[in-house]
Amino acid sequence: MPLLKNNAFVQDEWSTLDDDAALPEGGKIIVSFPRLANDWDLLAKFPGVLGVKLANTDKIDSLAPYFSQLAIIVLAFPAFTDGRAYSLARSLRLDGYRGELRAEGNLLPDQLQYMRQVGFDSFAVNDRFPLQSWQAASHQMSLAYQRGLYRVAGEGEVWSQRHQGFAPWEEQPHAG
């Protein structure tokens, strides 16, 4: 699976750890949410960098205490029509999560901007589409009516621009 970040394919430095696999000495590892909660005593002392992969049915309210320890959260798109991860991503960002937020699964280039707008900044995509398709799709609309979305240069919020004096909502880090 190619990994798309900042409009380029890059090397994936993360490895996903099965629930029953032993913890390595270090490195960048992604564990499931149940394992994160169950093995927290052990994982809190992990010398490498830690991330978590959520299922679309995981209740994310209980994830906030771990935010400072997490460098990546991976959300799944089992089908491109399954939009739950958009709300999970937005909620995580609204809850204050500032690390990497990765979309993984069945993604289409035409969904890339939506995903970026709700806070995703890396994308494990399938290799059916060439890089140009992803690049072209990443920035199709320069305006959004909704406020508080993640934006890149050249994108604006209609309502904030109409009503001068109101800055767009909060600074947006990690807007891939």
Binding site: R84, W159, R162
Partner: protein, 551 residues
């Protein structure tokens, strides 16, 4: 009415360019039909039985003469010279080529229109009272908040891949003409003692195969909180709505399975967890939009219109039409003209390009350049001077749009059915036409009084048969079409779902069955009682007996 500013123009222009690229990629084979499907659907493009169908948004059913002319142009140039006004205040074209679609969207963008989110699993075109801003019983015009919701829901990145489609309806009047209780979200305006506007928020109504009446989650939501509160409802639905079975994916099923109290507490918890940072911009935007919906420059007129009265005296045909098709306006000397798109034997909601141009002309000349599409598939001129009504009627008559059956049995709501639709199990249009012919005599229709008849060609209920006073559902039994009749439905403020009377009928038997039902009502009604009230007083028994006992 609302006009685009530079931002709205740019937004729709970019969206059109985006679709042009998507269609080109589909035509070249770069993306599959499965992948193209959600993209085209979010631009209103369906693949029907015989061709593509394009559904164009008419936000809250309001449009100008110029926009109506453009719809006529599209009908003539890209379709077969007609369009079909739908139960969601939209228009659809049934014979569209994929290659033409981007050009059509451009033609729409030229007149500040689009087809965004007229289909797909997203927030659909917002609907409202077709008499908004004109009705005598209205608290305030509901269209500013409808426009605010239109903008907020347009290409909402979080809510574009919902479990299922999502429909919002709004009423600013206590008498509900927008069917808010059978929508995913219904908003009804209230005013408190201080005169401030708040909204009753109802969730989980719907029709389809599981008809349900919405529950109220808030009785009086302050107006400035509407957008953040809707976000909370949408987020709960997006996360927890069922995705395992598309027939159980609407929000009504989630509300039903969680129970009203649990659903409410989930929404309130989400609303408390992610409060809006500020609603000040929403308020300013609503104020900006409201300025576009200021009342038109009415003339000061007498309530008594001598020319109008004289015309009624001398022309009984006009008098009959005026009696049935006009409604009370909030300003003296003005009236609401309801134009029935249900001529004898016609296809409910269809209008030709020429008829659309005539409607545009009448709006420009007599109704402050504004038209409405009603969810009953009719057209409304909302602000006509009584003294102009006769001239309007003469023009309508010359264009075959002067049917005097507004609100009567001939004013049939019907889905396109098996003549066009890939989902349908039976035809709707021929049944509507047969009933229309059976009751062609307007005097007969007046004899039966106010009655809503709705026909759906399948269980998905696009013809809203569940909420028709008389509902007809077309089904398929071993290759034979047959029609089930329900009675007692209503989409008004006292909403109810109709009850199935008994075994279905063959298509040719339906008009006689309807006549039997209506004659039974006439026999049993007390003076001045409408059909629905008689049914509610007596229940289905006498109607069942009349229909089936002798058979």
């Amino acid at each position: 009415m609302y006009r685009y500013d530079e931002f709205d123009h740019k937004f729709v222009a970019e969206r059109t360019a985006q679709f042009r690229d998507q269609a080109a990629r589909r035509l070249s084979g770069e993306i599959t039909e499965d992948e193209f499907r959600p993209l085209r659907l979010m631009n209103g493009l369906y693949l029907q039985l015989h061709a593509y169908m394009l559904r164009v948004a008419i936000p809250y059913g309001t449009l100008s003469g110029t926009q109506m002319r453009q719809l006529a142009y599209i009908a003539d140039k890209y379709d077969r010279g007609y369009g079909h006004f739908t139960t969601r205040q939209n228009i659809q074209y049934n014979w569209i080529k994929l290659e033409d679609t981007a050009d059509i969207l451009q033609a729409l963008a030229d007149v500040e229109m689009h087809a965004i989110q007229t289909s797909g699993n997203c927030i659909r075109n917002v609907t409202t009272d077709h008499w908004a801003g004109a009705a005598a019983d209205e608290l305030a015009d509901p269209r500013p908040i409808a426009e605010l919701i239109r903008q907020w829901s347009s290409l909402h990145p979080e809510f574009s891949f919902l479990p299922r489609k999502f429909k919002v309806a709004i009423t600013g009047a206590p008498h509900d003409r927008a069917a808010v209780k059978v929508h995913d979200i219904g908003l009804r305006m209230h005013k408190n003692d201080a005169g401030a506007i708040g909204w009753e928020v109802m969730v989980g109504g719907g029709q389809g195969r599981t008809p349900m009446i919405a529950i109220a989650v808030r009785d009086f939501l302050p107006e400035k909180e509407v957008i953040p509160y809707l976000e909370a409802i949408m987020r709960v639905y997006n996360l927890f709505g069922r995705r395992d079975n598309k027939y159980k994916a609407r929000i009504k099923i989630l509300v039903h399975e969680l129970g009203a109290e649990k659903f409410k507490s989930e929404v309130e918890a989400e609303y408390a967890r992610h409060p809006a940072q500020s609603t000040e911009v929403d308020e300013r935007e609503l104020a900006r939009i409201s300025a576009y919906f200021k009342a038109p420059n009415y003339e000061e007129l007498s309530r008594f219109a001598p020319r109008f009265e004289e015309a009624k005296r001398t022309d009984p045909e006009f008098a009959r039409w005026a009696k049935n098709n006009l409604a009370a306006h909030l300003v003296d000397g003005y009236t609401i003209v309801n134009i029935s798109l249900k001529p004898e034997g016609g296809i409910p909601g269809d209008a030709t390009g020429d008829q659309m141009r005539q409607l545009a002309t009448l709006a420009e000349r007599y109704s402050f350049d504004e038209l409405r599409v009603s969810h009953a598939q009719n057209i409304v001129l909302a602000h006509v001077k009584l003294e102009d009504v006769f001239a309007v009627w003469e023009a309508l008559k010359a264009s075959d749009m002067a049917a005097a059956n507004y609100g009567l049995i001939g004013d049939i709501i019907a889905c396109p059915g098996l003549d066009y639709c890939a989902l349908a199990t039976a035809r709707s249009i021929p049944v509507a036409q047969a009933i229309s012919r059976k009751f062609a005599n307007v005097a007969t229709q007046e004899h039966y009084g106010a009655v809503k008849l709705n026909i759906s060609g399948c269980i998905n209920a696009c013809g809203h048969h569940h909420v028709g006073h008389i509902g007809i559902l077309g089904l398929d039994k071993k290759g034979e079409e047959f029609y089930q009749i329900t009675l007692g439905g209503s989409s008004s403020e006292n909403a109810s779902i109709g009850t199935i009377l008994g075994p279905g009928f063959a298509a040719h038997e339906v008009p006689d069955a309807i006549e039997t039902i209506l004659n039974t009502y006439v026999k049993l009604r007390v003076s001045g009682e409408e059909f629905l009230h008689t049914y509610r007083r007596l229940g289905p028994a006498p109607f069942k007996e009349a229909l089936y006992a002798t058979a």
